[in-house]
Symmetry: C2
Subunit: 457 residues, 2 copies
């Protein structure tokens, strides 16, 4: 099987046909493209930057292999000169980006690429693909984290993520959004995340009795015994688990937890807690799973559920209520001149930009201003950092725990109304700088004055 | 970057902890697991089998590498004897499956794995991951195909699929569901699909004028000139394209098509067609893109849109209105005894099974019966085929065009009411065979008689 990861052919054909025409027309002038989200999906009023590490790795390693070129040649679309150009192709551009884990908002450039036209254009498909998924999932995950706070959440979504690459990226992005770890073993290995998981119902069913299954598991994992107690009857199962827990305690071991996966979780969890306490097992944790997302977590906790941590699967892993974002990668400057696209609800912001963030004296997020990159806006923090120069990523990339820490620190400084789990009309204030505003007006006038009239979508 | 594809660690940790305990308890008896979908998502009354090829490839090549074992050892969870077992681990089981491209329905086993307990269990996560995505996407794609029939559809979703693996699998599964091709170049290479695409708005904006951009592109691709005409004004753009088309015709070339990506597509497409015809360009195709799914296709065609083919992107590629399926992989037999799980709405069907399909004398699909694998049900077609024996896939796997053909042939033999794009209550009739019914009743009675009572979820 051909490898997908890192392949230069993971791209839309039009990136390559445009490139061929740019090449033939010798259009190598520098272009800047801007990556941003045009609109909030329902129930969302913020986004979390995520996916940058993958984009930088892709840009650094982008190569067309001899097999790639052979395939492209075989399509009959491309001339030999262009294929020779692709053979030597390297991404040598600059990238500015909002670091992973930071909050950002609609229309703010999450990332800007400046490179010669072909280089900046052909990376579009992958750049969107990588950022889109991880921003969407980190944002969805953070809603679950907020609903459960300060309880712990574990990503259980791998079986129903859209493919295996998504399984990896969901583990990573949900960690950025505040999750504790994942069930995905490879994500544990690759990203250094904590991995969680013990047994399925099939494990219990394959023994003669529940007790036998529990004992077998505890023998194999005396340090990591979390027992799934709902295969037959949750409270009966918990009693068996509690008896085993008492035995383990007498032998100097400890039952780590029980898992509930069905039924009325709020009521069951209280009964299970009482039963555990009555058996003297105060430190046994209660882990709940089964169809959880931010709404079900809130509901179960609102009903008095006594739960220490949640396994959160499918609905987080596919961002079920908002499975895509209106993310776009648009040309904003070419050959030194700012470019703007005008169309109702789809206007792009011209030129190379920066996002300036203001906080209150108490540290609360107050307002963002989108400005020109060389704007100097006092009292604000500039969010976009130069993360790649001439095709080389800046060596110092933060580790995932640092990214998560940065996110959580900033998240709770965002006013609650923008963090609401529910539908809300109010948007975090984002304005344009004077100079960007003036540039936009001038370009709009120019476009209207030109023969072509107003640009559309 | 570590490769994800084909890694044995793309699995939930609990598959490995269960395996370790099975190993320690010497539980190597044969087990059968069944893969099925518990419920229809809204607006769906059928599914298309897809993803089998990836599952077979995975099962044939499943290996724990020295690096995998080193990581597992480093977690501190596993004993050396078990890690040695994993080092030698190969999947040596049998697989029965409904071939790709066939229709199937709720509760029908799409695939059954019989292998020693550990082998059958540890493949769960990947098997669900692979089948879930492709079944979901093929089904979604087929709805678009039906809405557009007999017009052609091209997968444009790569930029917003959930990761790159999804980008590949969506291209493949949408082809099975009746699409003509994809914009994804690597999918073209790997799966032999036709690839489509020409230019983005950024291409037009980077030239001094629309005409200059069109001419540049036509010079580079005289055989494959599809012009995006809506960057400034759709009809003005079409006039420029038509003039160029006339010139090309005079030079013995041919303008292939124009693409519309915004505005009132139905009305614009009619005007564009008239303009093309008036210029004598009867064979220039009109290609539409921009937010299409089955509903928007139906709407635009219902409004008299004159369109030859559609680019269908995000909403198909993430199955936006139903981004996950309730697909499960459950133990149905262990050590020769049938296993059943009882719980409201989640009852599993015990034992090794077969699906028997009845058609009317006119070839219409009439009814399916889920039976025991060795049931002999006259006048029906048995759907599950043995696709793997002792870990070796049967050599003869159909090619993608054959799979698509098989799908389309059967699809239009399914009664329209089950193919409806809209919400419908009625379900295609699926019943249990007498012998399966009897087995289920007996097992339910046994479970109820046993101390544990009724099994739950």
């Amino acid at each position: 099987m051909e490898k997908t990861e890192g392949s230069a052919l993971i791209t839309d054909l039009y990136e390559l046909t445009m490139a061929a025409s740019y090449f033939e027309n010798q259009m190598f002038e520098p272009a800047t493209f801007s990556l941003f989200i045009r609109d909030y999906p329902p129930f969302r009023r913020y986004f979390i930057s995520a996916g940058l590490a993958d984009i930088l790795e892709y840009l650094e390693n982008l190569r067309f292999t001899p097999q790639d070129l052979e395939y492209l040649s075989h399509t009959g679309l491309f001339k030999p000169e262009f294929l020779s150009y692709l053979e030597r192709f390297r991404f040598k551009g600059d990238v500015y980006a909002i670091p992973e884990g930071r909050l950002f908002f609609v229309n703010e450039p999450l990332l800007e690429v400046t490179a010669s036209m072909i280089e900046a254009q052909v990376v579009e498909t992958f750049v969107i693909n990588a950022a889109h998924l991880q921003v969407m999932i980190a944002t969805k995950a953070s809603r679950c984290v907020q609903a459960a706070w300060p309880r712990k959440l574990v990503d259980f979504s791998l079986r129903r993520t859209h493919g295996t690459d998504a399984g990896m990226k969901v583990a990573r992005a949900s960690f950025i959004g505040g999750f504790t770890g994942t069930s995905n073993v490879l994500a544990g290995k690759v990203y250094g995340l904590s991995v969680f998981g013990t047994m399925a119902h099939s494990f219990i069913s394959s023994f003669e009795s529940e007790e036998e299954a529990f004992r077998a598991f505890a023998r194999t994992f005396p340090e990591n015994t979390v027992l799934l107690v709902d295969t037959y009857d949750t409270l009966a199962g918990t009693r068996i688990a509690a008896d085993l827990g008492k035995e383990m305690a007498q032998a100097g071991k400890m039952l780590k937890g029980v898992r509930l996966d069905s039924g009325d979780i709020a009521a069951l969890s209280r009964d299970v807690r009482k039963l555990l306490r009555d058996t003297g097992l105060d430190n046994v944790t209660i882990f709940a799973s089964g169809g959880f997302d931010e709404f079900k977590i809130r509901k179960v906790l609102g009903e008095g559920g006594d739960i220490d941590s949640f396994g959160v699967g499918t609905k987080m892993g596919v961002s079920a209520d908002a499975p895509y974002l209106d993310m776009a990668y648009k040309l904003v400057q070419y050959g030194g001149r700012p470019v703007l696209k005008l169309s109702p609800g789809k206007t792009t912001l011209a030129s190379e930009k920066q996002v300036f963030r203001f906080t209150t004296s108490k540290g609360k997020l107050r307002q963002d201003i989108i400005g020109l990159r060389d704007d100097d806006i006092e009292g604000s923090e500039a969010l976009l950092e130069k993360v790649m120069s001439k095709g080389k990523a800046n060596a110092k990339q933060p580790l995932l725990p640092q990214i998560q820490e940065r996110f959580l620190e900033e998240f709770f400084r965002l006013d609650e109304k923008y963090r609401s789990l529910d539908k809300t009309e109010e948007e975090y204030p984002v304005e344009l700088s004077l100079r960007l505003e003036e540039l936009q007006s001038r370009l709009v006038r120019q476009l209207r004055d030109e023969a072509g009239g107003v640009e559309e979508s």
